[in-house]
Symmetry: D3
């Protein structure tokens, strides 16, 4: 149920019975020596579309570039500033709200988006809260990170244990190999499990994580894992979506 593949008359009909919509959001940034630059957008999109099919919800186009300033010391990484992303999300939500959508469910593929996307929801709400609104329909937005569902957490622990890490993880790499098998490749990495730690700006990040990974061993990934991860994520997120929109 991709919005892009529907007509306006279809949407008009849809809105008679449902007002929820799914919005995948990712990032375009380095994912270590073998991970795809599009990993976070591709995974959010795959899961978003899977959930949309399962629950019969419309899926808006994926927001492909997110807040990834810390990856800019690696070629090919792209970012928008937080203030830009807030404006973008605000406009997209307000466009859809005009038609009668009231529940905006963001499926997120990138940890670095969480703060800014959450702030963008507050920006949207603040416009409403600063006026006295009596009888307007209530708008609600929520952000879900697909890798944080109970099922995914347990599965990645089972598959990768402490080599999952937090960037260029085997889980997300496996997922992209399931979706884009032609991109699969392995390379020796040193150390096998990347270091962990914090970071500030792009120079700081690259100093701490020279090949881009954080705490992970992506060579553990397989396309078969990717299939299990995909199915688990879709099932978990679909359940959550249905619970949330019915509230």
């Amino acid at each position: 149920m991709q919005l892009q593949l529907k007509t306006w008359q279809f949407v008009e009909e849809y809105l008679k019975s449902r007002t929820g919509i799914i919005i995948p959001i990712g990032s375009t940034e380095q994912h270590g020596p073998t991970g795809l630059i599009g990993t976070d957008a591709l995974t959010a999109e795959m899961i978003g579309r899977g959930v949309g099919e399962k629950v019969g919800a419309l899926v808006a186009p994926t927001i492909p570039v997110g807040m990834a300033q810390h990856h800019l010391a690696f070629p090919g990484s792209m970012t928008v500033r937080p203030s830009t992303l807030i404006a973008l999300i605000r406009d997209q939500v307000m466009s859809l709200a005009r038609h009668g959508f009231t529940r905006f469910y963001f499926i997120n593929g990138h940890g670095g988006n969480v703060a800014t996307v959450t702030a963008s929801f507050s920006e949207i709400y603040a416009e409403r809260s600063m006026e006295r609104l009596s009888n307007q329909p209530s708008i609600k937005c929520v952000l879900r990170n697909w890798w944080e569902s109970a099922g995914i957490k347990s599965l990645s622990r089972e598959l990768y244990g402490n080599a999952e890490g937090s960037h260029a993880t085997p889980s997300e790499v496996a997922l992209t190999w399931y979706g884009y098998p032609q991109t699969m490749q392995q390379k020796p990495m040193e150390p096998r499990i990347a270091p962990t730690g914090g970071f500030a700006d792009a120079e700081d990040y690259r100093r701490n994580f020279p090949d881009g990974r954080i705490g992970s061993d992506p060579n553990l990934a397989t396309p078969e894992h990717g299939k299990r991860i995909y199915e688990t994520a879709v099932a978990d997120v679909a359940r959550d979506y249905e619970a949330w929109v019915s509230r």
Copy 2:
């Protein structure tokens, strides 16, 4: 050569010999009773990827939501404000420029984007022009509308004559049916060829163009046309890209 499907090390290597990149930009908006809401993004993306393959250029993620305020009276249409789109493009270009990209070739699927995208280039240049810059590399951006190449103009005239129109055109509809054959559908439309004229805001647009089309008869489209249009557009735009980056 989708950027999303490459690694940062691939991009590092690429930049040693080339500094151009293709950025498809579209829109998410009604396209008449049978045209897809994603038409402008899907067509720009198809052609952008085709050109990228042909010329060996990287293709950044498609910007899927453009400036489409005038379509907002039709359910499912989305827009960003011009000021938001300017910030978005500025950030995306500046991210890539940091890595050494210097030629930004936007392939556009939506007439309503032209003014704002062109203004965003000026916003980027103005930051540079307001400082005295001596020895910085020169950054250049260009926008090409795929439907305006000589080959496409002649082909659409041959196929549809004066039923091509300017919104929900048979050309763009045919192109989406070639790429997404499962979405093909026909409906009777009244009048067969939609009215033409101007518009201002969304209410004004819908008043003038009740089913969303402008000057077009999309029922003339076929997937076979779509294939010809695709191949012509890719060939024309690829030639233009190569001429432009080598300047």
Copy 3:
């Protein structure tokens, strides 16, 4: 009928029968070795006032500084960034709309303004389109480049042929000499007809067009030409204005 030379009571009366207003917009930028820095503002203003007299329309103050980042490598050139110009036009139009003006006719003297001014109209419309507006009066804005009317195109072809060019053109120079005869001067220029081509930022522009002209030979201009150009432009634009506001 300059707004600046009227009282508020005059405007109150005017609005009882008409809701259109003319807004000249120009630029303050180099125009080659002999052209005036104010050319684009002065010509838009001359024609705007001429049209206002002819059709009995109010003429707002000229916006004298436009989007001219590409001229900043030549002393005296001024610019506003696109984002600033969008805010400026938005505020000026919204001020006038509050009084009941509904048709905003911009007469433009500078090609570099086209994209940004058009984007500013979309910014204004977007505010309206993103809300459901039922019974508000319809606001419309339009931009006309005086040098693109049929009469002017034919006249400049007759007078200057392929030496018209696109910046520091003999047409605009002639027009300023008609309006400001004391500024007339000629200088030898090398080559006689300036080169043509594209440009990006200010450094790029100056590299390509060392004396500021593009494709033109301004030494062909005469004040007598300027008079003919003025009268043709006023007649053409006045006709267009009347057709447009009555729609």
Copy 4:
């Protein structure tokens, strides 16, 4: 010495010996039953040009629309928001600073501009102050209200005493009649001297000052007064300009 009437080569030469420039700024707003909507821009421009001639300084184009939100309940009044005016002035000053101008002397015709223009100077300085700048040339901006010179204060007291008031004053009306004699008109006004007091937004202003004047009797003005005011203002401001730029 209007910048608009010069060439870029003239400006290049000028900058070899001088780096000051005059920028008139006014407003477009009601000035009572007989005062011109353009009063504040026209007077600033007249005096700015007079000063420019006297001291041999370049005069940039007049900024014709200022911060006049409080006049918007009177037809024909225009405003820009403070945030817009700050961006506008910032861009115009930074454009000129790129060429080597370092002293920006604003001649102001409108009390309502003072706070915002002063804030815009701080915005410009703040960009510099937030960086450590070692050897950049020092940029300075100043705002002068022509009606506050000692000579003008004394002259208006002599001519109008307590009927000068603070909006639609006989001084400014006289000045416009000197410059634009064809606009002269008188009307009975009730009370003869308008009330005084404060105001907040446009509704509040109109409630307090029903015909637009504050504290003034513009019927006292004559074109002859206007000539004396003009000459006094030009002399006073020219002296101040010369003292300021030489500091």
Copy 5:
């Protein structure tokens, strides 16, 4: 009556009979060799709270960082840009206006805030003025500099004569010593009375005023003076507040 020390139910009750609120605003910037960096915020806060007690008005939290770009060449000084401060004040006032507050009385401790705070009021009013508002309650904002009341002017003249100056004044220093006696210190300063003059950006300020003071001799201050200044300021400002809110 600090807002911070009350409950929402208290405020609900308060609004039944009064709609005024006091907002202290200061700055965080150098105040010479012995003056506190927080002087302007601390003094505005002391007086604001004193006035609140005296007149029974709520006092909002002090805005501690103001527009102080010119002090940034002295360690510890902080600033917000004018555009930021305008947004901040706009949001704070609009938040309170939503509850029914209509009179916003800013007590200011810093001359450098005056232009920007005044511009922020216009920004707030402009949002209202650009719409036709019929029956909304009238919002009014005012800014009072505590050091400009008649009583304070006369007292500082009596105590310090021409050694009061305009930055790091003995009056403000005395006031902080009354409120924060533990911070009292004296140091020899050369010259005893600091120079006077103007300034632009931070480098320019420090060049002209090497130890930070302007025209003042803060060594004249005593805590006893501070007590007199405090009591005079509170009495004067309280009287002004009561007159203003009852208008």
Copy 6:
């Protein structure tokens, strides 16, 4: 070691050996029937100052108004929009960075600030990351919620168990009673432990939490608890500060 109570010469000296600074940030919003509107700012400030004393670090002025749009249906609550707060924090950090501060440790009193403050750090970093910076000192910002230290979590569990809740908690109420004993009051509340759940805008919040509390029973608080909470928080946060700045 409050920055407000120091001189610029003190700060100059401080920067020779240390480059860290503490910035308390709170909120001004309802805290249930008995909690103070200033709770979040007052608690962050108390703990911030306590930590500053303990570790010998400078403490910047508290940012008293945060992102609290969801509380605006309760009188007295104030908010700034996320985009405003981002600009504010950016300016304050950049001011201090100019002097040589490189470690910015925000002590936070309000859960609703987390997303926006984190986004503001990214905004600051993004300015740096979008340029290639070679040898600039590294700037780092961090946000710590005082109530999330191990010691505080264990203490609040011991004192209040499941009646701690998440808004108007007995922990924060106790802390304010320790700091501001005169504000102590108890009121019967129904239900004793407030409901829990989510919220979107202000109307939604008030609908779900009619007296403002979430999940808490603030009547359990005592000033003695407040003292223990204060001491635990200061000890925990001080330890964390020292570890962080030394990294």
